[in-house]
Symmetry: C2
Subunit: 409 residues, 2 copies
Amino acid sequence: MTDAILKNYAKLVAVSGVNVQKGQPIIIAADISAAKFARLVQEACFDAGASDVFMNWRDEVSARTHYLKAADEIFDQFPDWLVQRAKHYDDKGVGYVMIYSDNPDNLNGVDPDRIKRFAKISREKTTETAALRMSNKLRWTICAVPSPSWAKKIFPDLDECAAVEKLWERILKASRADGPDPIAEWKAHRESFVKRVDYLNEAQFDKLRFKNSLGTDLVLGMPKEHIWKGGGSVDKDGLYFHPNMPTEEIYTAPDANRADGKVVASLPLSYQGSLIDGIEIDFKDGKAVSYKAKEGDAVLKSIVEMDEGSARLGEVALVPNASPINQMKTLFYNTLYDENASCHLALGKAYPTSIVGGAEMSLEELAKRGVNHSLTHVDFMFGTEDMCIWGIDADGNETLIFENGEYKF
Amino acid sequence: MTDAILKNYAKLVAVSGVNVQKGQPIIIAADISAAKFARLVQEACFDAGASDVFMNWRDEVSARTHYLKAADEIFDQFPDWLVQRAKHYDDKGVGYVMIYSDNPDNLNGVDPDRIKRFAKISREKTTETAALRMSNKLRWTICAVPSPSWAKKIFPDLDECAAVEKLWERILKASRADGPDPIAEWKAHRESFVKRVDYLNEAQFDKLRFKNSLGTDLVLGMPKEHIWKGGGSVDKDGLYFHPNMPTEEIYTAPDANRADGKVVASLPLSYQGSLIDGIEIDFKDGKAVSYKAKEGDAVLKSIVEMDEGSARLGEVALVPNASPINQMKTLFYNTLYDENASCHLALGKAYPTSIVGGAEMSLEELAKRGVNHSLTHVDFMFGTEDMCIWGIDADGNETLIFENGEYKF
């Protein structure tokens, strides 16, 4: 990739992604293998007026060694200084940029119990900072760049250089960052969501029914005054940002207590360095009452059983077959990409902003309204080319809103 | 360099350097360009029994951008979470491994005032954690690995690969890590210092006089009950460690109030990414009363004027011409290496352990005994091939202890 294209992508992340404001501090979290691009984002953030850019480096190679070799009690500990660090920047209104380049197989063979315990304590200790982002009080964005290990996982038959180059092409195309003016393209993209989001918000279906030939047959109850969103978010001050780049989904939270039926995942899920494939879950009254995976069953169990809310749904998202990412017919082993190729659900925490006034509600009020709470939030894909979805109103009238993987409205 | 040699060097750093103990946490601070070696040290620390290894990555490229582009007030701030982080690990008895690979020119052209202000606030806020290391309460070690930018600075006529390879050879030779059993070699090296250190400690000279053809003519008063050290240190529990790898010096602290005469530096000094060359300092009653540098004069000024103690001496170290690093006739632009090629002095903080009982004394008691205090500690080299040094006792009797750059005892 040429430097000019990478600079354009970095500027897109700073401007359209996290929308850096003058005098704002920014945190960039990146693996050291993504240093070249992370530095370009740093420059772009300063150019957009950032006062300070904290580079939060991680290294997945030494992280794997840590999981394999550290003392066992370490995985039940989350140092206070990490909480204080988050608070230090959150109090200054920081913007978060997360650059993903993860090797999907990085933690293969690591004791899933260590992953589960550390994930749990981390989420418990970072509830406060995570809530600021999930309720749009702070702006944030996630984007991706290739790493050799990730690229080789997707394109195992290519040599490393060719695989990285091909993944760059896919990423830049999917992120609408390969043209001369990505920022204008994202503005147009954002606006393209408005009509569909408005339709669903006005319809206020009481239930959605999903059915396809893979075996999914699921009815989700919808909370009163639920809000569908898509094409980006708006923070508490009215500033837009794009939490995910790319984004092709229209999403909201289903009722945590009203999911019934079966869901069969259509794509494998790469979760913290482990692959989970062949997921099937049966829901009753909102709860996953039985579940299994052909591969990574123990990791799926660690997700579902993390807490009370992790066995319930926190997100439902619609993505049409026409999504440019779906059209690539590429399994990315990366949720940011794969979830934007396919209709998906998430186990765990719902965005409080999924219902009217939700950002200001207590956890108790949200629970009463059916908005799920959990320490975790894990997306998995269940969309297919023959997916059909019906909206059902309170009187039981059905409207076909999605047919053979495409919007009907 | 072969993987086997690098692994041997990494093991040396873990075992002979910081001397990892079973169940001890370790912090490894490294630039991301040194990731390959830092990961080997991480493995070696775990193999030696570390409970947890925190990888503290930095990136000098984005650090330069930060110095150039961050808001001006940032350089007067040192976030509390960094203090809390140090305390978190210090309370657990952490061992520190610092891996240097710095580009000597990294901060060229950066406003020296920004460097000075941030250095000052950093040192103020890290006094407590630094004191634990300077008084040998916590074990620590500094070692080095090549980076392309550093290697090209030393060997500008070689291509990048050849320069890195040549610097690796020098580093491994200087660090006595190129043989089959570096740990045994370091044990022998440590023991070789004993006789000379004992001689100087028994002599308890009242003054030292330094003279050479470069223009140095300096008399340093020595504190009562001063302690010369060399070949490594011993922590509060009696565990050895090597703060510097390599180490060729025998050193102690001169009296902060009794330095008189002129010192002319014999090598340039690379300080936080800036080069200072052609240093000349006149001392009177321990204080630098006039000073200049042909290059980097403003940076020298920022060091000398940081606080009251930074204009006084905190270390005097003897290094013979026979030092293998001196024999390489290579200017490393790196204090860890250059100071072990040449007799040197340090402006600023003295090691409290330089006098009997010093580790347990208050700053006031130390000051009364002539042991310097400052937020900074900056070594500079003044040894030459014709350096002569006399020890002078309280009655004025002179003993030649160093002639034409070699020990006389």
